[in-house]
């Protein structure tokens, strides 16, 4: 993003607000069991905080928080977490994505709860990384990006 001038107010406010957006994103992911939310919504909030800093501070300073090269690998890692959870259930004797067979806990219903959480973490990671990666891709080659 092209910056015409340094505006300390925008820099300060966005740096103050971004951590809270990120915290709220994590809350939405991890509290999805009890309130509206989940991986997709939380991942979008995390990406919003990263992109807010890139918009206000410029992409170069924004790189120090979330480097550009991490985008695609983290997205793949998120999808791998999902597939890995499913495969772990398959290897441990159940059907694909049957979380009841993954030994997170002794009780079967609790195992399903933990399985849902691990899947949601994977979704959140992938959504965040893909959104930031698309933003970076669009800015690729832009002068003063």
């Amino acid at each position: 993003m092209r910056r015409n001038e340094n505006n300390p107010i925008i820099d300060l406010i966005s740096s103050l607000v971004a951590p809270f957006i990120m915290l709220f994103g994590l809350y939405v992911i991890f509290h999805g069991h009890y309130s509206p939310g989940g991986g997709f919504q939380g991942g979008t909030l995390l990406a919003a905080s990263v992109i807010l800093l890139r918009l206000s501070l410029g992409s170069e300073l924004g790189q120090s928080q979330f480097p550009r090269r991490l985008g695609t690998p983290l997205a793949s890692l998120g999808v791998l977490i999902y597939y890995g959870t499913g495969l772990a259930a398959l290897i441990l004797g159940g059907a694909f994505l049957n979380y009841g067979f993954i030994p997170f806990s002794a009780l079967a219903p609790l195992r399903r709860s933990w399985g849902i959480l691990s899947v949601e973490i994977g979704v959140g990671l992938a959504v965040m990384a893909v959104l930031v990666a698309i933003y970076d891709d669009l800015l690729e080659g832009e002068p003063d990006a």
Partner: protein
């Protein structure tokens, strides 16, 4: 031609609004989708989810339990679609730059 377009648009709007009046009210206990069993007599899936989601998945939020557990394959596919979209953006938008570097 423009008048015909507007006419078709208005007619289509009218058709959609007419169709929308046929929907059951929200929370209508007697509508087919909200009944305990389908017209054929088999149990409806939502009945099972509402009754059993809490005990089976130990998750208070029924929507999360359905999305990530009962319908896990669907969410897996959605996530794969998102990754594919990201990879395609990567392929389409980054290729140009590496070409410039080689020149």
């Amino acid at each position: 031609m423009k008048a015909a377009n507007v006419l078709v648009l208005v007619a289509f709007c009218g058709l959609l609004i007419y169709a929308a009046t046929g929907f059951p009210n929200r929370g209508d206990a007697l509508s087919v989708t909200n009944r305990e069993s389908s017209p054929a007599g088999t149990p409806n899936a939502p009945t099972h989810y509402i009754r059993r989601a809490k005990e089976e998945a130990h998750t208070d939020n029924m929507v999360t339990a359905i999305l990530a557990d009962y319908r896990g394959y669907d969410t897996l596919g959605e996530e794969t679609v998102i990754l594919t979209a990201g990879l395609i953006c990567y392929l389409l938008l980054r290729r140009e730059r590496s070409g410039h570097e080689k020149e």
